[in-house]
Symmetry: D2
Subunit: 355 residues, 4 copies
């Protein structure tokens, strides 16, 4: 009953097999191997254009390196006030950008609106020396609150950003989950909507440790190899990143895994919604369920071995906030979350409600 | 016939098995898992004291994060002029230290001498504001030239460093190979000889991607978790680093693998030394062979699929430098280098010499 | 009629004389001169304890170097959301701290409250690796809105900061103006209220270019000389900073100059308050007047050569915001602002109001 | 008898007068004033083209900011192994470049040769990810050893640098002294010889605290205003930098002052050369004299109040090194060094030699 994070899940068998196969061979180091080349080709195919793709081991690295590539030290990086890059990476974007300033913007369910973005950007006039300069907009797809931007929302935000001199980055730690929800094409959700660079996460969706930084305009990636190496993120036996990415994309595995995780969250949300005293805080669009539970349920849940985080957020409408006697809780499902686990958790909550 | 680098080797079956087993389970993220805990315990046992150990995916990360933990931006980091941290990491130590200055010191076969170190340190007086301040000595064990410091040599260098206000770091990318050569204890080669922090590399010695930063005084590691996270080097499914390290250390696997690689290099060196026109440039102490070959052998070697680097070094005695018609070549063996490959390469060289 | 900034003012004759006298002599470079020593002694006397004081040329340098000395790259720096260090220094604190994160907190008239500070700090738990760590609180005295913290307010904020693991910095670009308003001692307004490091600005108060970074606990300054030098802020003919600071403090000149500027602002505010259609936005406590003027007055003011900035702020109570037809304006007085200028400006506004 | 440094000298009366005059006026802040504009115009006139010029207070700032503008964090900066930027600025170029690597190159009398530069650059292949990338060549004119590059020497070095992908920076802390020696035009010594950015120092040549960063191609300066502000080097009452630079250039004052300092050094060198037991180590081309003196002269010199530094250098031909009983000494003259002081110092040495 691990609902703490999709980081705690296992690894899809197809991916473990690919790693095992690659372990038997010799190969050139640092990404000059055939697995990495095939992964890059697969990414270009998936995104319907020639992309420059670089594999790294962590999502923080993918985000921070991408933002470092798009900005200068005197840049501002605009994001939701509770974005992972702002709240959960201990300043990694600051390190890799040489000290850029992250500017948090409020918004319901972790989403930015064009109006709020425009108002914020207006405080940073281009050319005013005392002010950091518009550098990048970073959007999380899905958001920290499990919400998904529709392509036209991304396009609208990108347009505002571009007008102000910003490049556009997408933090796609749960990109596959968002894609499975929207049923649009990867291209529609990224470069066709104005995204310049994507951090594409496989780890939370069944890989071992594999993320891609994808430049839709390869010219932007001219210096990236130096930035990655200098960050200690050029893995020496690079084939194992390539093998993971290749297997993850092959035959739509990535979307299968994401659909499974999304479905599990749907089942969980439906089950909980039917329990007395439970409110679903944000619409469940991907694999995360944010709910308020009667506080009395926490003890039986923990006794049963359920793992999850109590949550807090400034990005919630007032009437969704937990009231006295309630706990605000995040429950995350993965590709390998079983119906059994879900039903057991729901059962405990239902039981408590009846009591 | 991949003699280009031990980075190109495969992965030991015991380590792949451990990864596969860990893939089936759920676990807390970011290193709070049982595998990582067991790996830390094993490291403390191996080093005969309670160490603070942090696992990361690359050797560059291990080195640069370790040096960042030991220094401040106005520090000098003293190392061999051809050290990996100075020549081969694209400035990673500069990034993670906030801009410290690496000061290269010459020395035969990649080794520093106490005298050369002392003379260099004398140029950086403590308290002189215009000068970067002594921060850290970094020793490579084994060196870039495949040489090994004996414990008493390490102790002598550490003493000079400490007198000048420097902490002592060891780049142990080939630590196991050096240990297998010396047949001393890991403790003798590190903290008993004055080393404060070790970058211990498993990757080149049969792991997939696993390095440990080991603080022999855990108090020095107080901020390291922030530095690692901020660097994007805290792997989310951290159990896979733990599983690798645990399997690598178990039942002496690490030393078995290192001995195999060292023996392969020995066989290779002996074979080549017997060929006309071949000179071994530096004593073969670990798994690297530096030789001058008749330049005429390069074409047949490459045709046969042998992969290796032509080398250059300022750290060579004059009389060992390649002469006209010679190529200076580095050949690296791994745990999985076969006698067949070695004998085939030697055969081609021998054949050419006869021709 | 320069009401744009106290940065635009002239230099007090006593200070120019001191510079001229110092120009005739030879002296050791880099602050090892007698003028600098006397300035340091005078600062210790003024603050009633032995301080470690370092002179620099700009306020941005004083602030950013001070914050760099108090924090590490993974620190959070807490300040008002419109603080000069956050909005007007192009990321200088980020540069000198190695990439710390500035966290803006709202508050009326540029002032923080203990409650708002406590709530914000609660989001950054000590030891949580994904979160930047509480590093420093920075208070502006006087604030960007011309408000002054009373010593007990400073003490209350310092206590909250210290409990959360933060050091306390004061941006004293208008310290003398605040002091002249409060009529307390410099010690009461700083270290007795919990301030660790003060950026003391003389430039806006009649000096040419001179600011002091003052550590009330000299042990905190152990590395500052390196940080200053590395920042390019150790002036070679350092005696000219010493001479300015010495003359500025001598016989209470600094307070005389500040009182003159404050009085000028008082006269200006009183004059404007009497005009129809004018509202004083924030209490006038130092040398700045924030007012809403009928927008129709802007043209005649500019024609008359008056220089000032239109302002905007998120730190204003709603009912103080400019309404349709109004302009929100900042008017700054200096030690050399004449009654004539003030009365002329007021006259134009009064005239317009009558029209 | 201050021969320690030209940093210890006074300030030329014309410059003090200009400062005094500017102190009486109001002016826009941060360099938007008429003095700064006139200084910029004067610099364009002096260099015979439209330059982008930025005034700062220290030479370290001028050098480090200039290098930061020319490089990226993964750049190498190539300079003499004893260059001021490498040995005497506590890592300022590292700070302002975001951690670039300075690569010292040996050379007699502080001068680089095209051959040594080419050999060094060859170790940093363009595009090799593990290696920092050629970023900038920095030449000191005059060098740390008081030597002067002739325009054709600068051109030869610039050509080598440019071929390898480097921009060319000149550290002109003693630019005027070099110019006075060469009697060429400022343009010949800079952009016509391939220099991209010049740090032009007035401070050592009679100013109070004034240096200019001069971009010969203004397009290269696009971001410089942000870098300067972020470094805390945008002086608020900027007119005082403008006033100094304007006065320094006016009617050739800068060259008059430099000629006086050079002549003083010439007189000093001639006097010392005639003393028994004294050897001039490097040709005296500007205002510095490097000599070996009988060690017995040091005590009487110090008793007489003479101030100077004992020196050491790796950039000296072997036969010029001090022998037993000798001291290696640097004596620096300024525009205000008197014949009396010089003759007194020479007299003490001569007297000692006779004794």
């Amino acid at each position: 009953m691990n609902f703490a994070s999709d980081n705690g899940a296992g690894v899809a068998p197809q991916i473990i097999s690919a790693i095992g196969a690659a372990a038997l061979a010799n190969a050139p180091a640092y990404g000059a191997d055939a697995w990495t080349q095939r992964a890059r080709d697969a990414l270009s195919a998936v995104f319907e254009r020639d992309v420059a793709a670089f594999l790294v081991s962590t999502g923080t690295a993918a985000n921070a390196l991408a933002l470092g590539a798009l900005t200068r030290p005197w840049s501002g990086i605009f994001c939701h006030e509770e974005a992972h890059i702002h709240d959960d990476e201990c300043g990694a974007p600051e390190l890799f950008s040489g000290g850029a300033k992250l500017i948090g913007i409020p918004g319901e369910a972790g989403k930015l609106t064009p109006g709020a973005l425009r108002d914020t950007l207006a405080r940073f006039p281009i050319g005013l020396a005392k002010s950091v300069q518009p550098g990048a907009l970073s959007l999380s797809q899905a958001t920290e609150a499990g919400a998904v931007y529709r392509p036209e929302e991304i396009a609208a935000l990108s347009a505002v950003a571009r007008d102000a001199g910003c490049a556009v980055h997408m933090d796609g730690a749960r990109f596959a989950n968002a894609l499975a929800h929207l049923r649009c094409s990867p291209a529609d959700m990224t470069w066709r909507a104005g995204v310049d660079v994507l951090s594409l996460g496989a780890t939370k969706d069944g890989a071992l440790a594999c993320e891609a930084v994808i430049f839709f305009d390869p010219a932007r990636a001219a210096d990236f190899e130096f930035q990655r190496k200098r960050g200690g993120h050029t893995v020496s036996k690079g084939r194992f990143l390539g093998a993971q990415m290749e297997a993850w994309l092959k035959d739509g595995l990535w979307l299968d895994l994401a659909r499974r995780a999304n479905s599990a969250a749907r089942r969980l949300a439906d089950g909980l919604a039917a329990c007395a005293g439970v409110r679903i805080v944000w619409p469940v669009e991907v694999n995360e369920v944010f709910v308020t539970l009667p506080r009395s349920t926490l003890a039986p849940l923990q006794e049963a071995g359920a793992r999850f985080y109590e949550w807090s957020s400034r990005a919630t409408a007032k009437d969704a906030l937990p009231r006295a006697g309630e706990a605000f809780v995040r429950l995350v499902c993965s590709f390998d979350t079983s119906d059994l686990e879900i039903d057991r958790l729901v059962g405990i909550v239902a039981n408590d409600a009846r009591a």
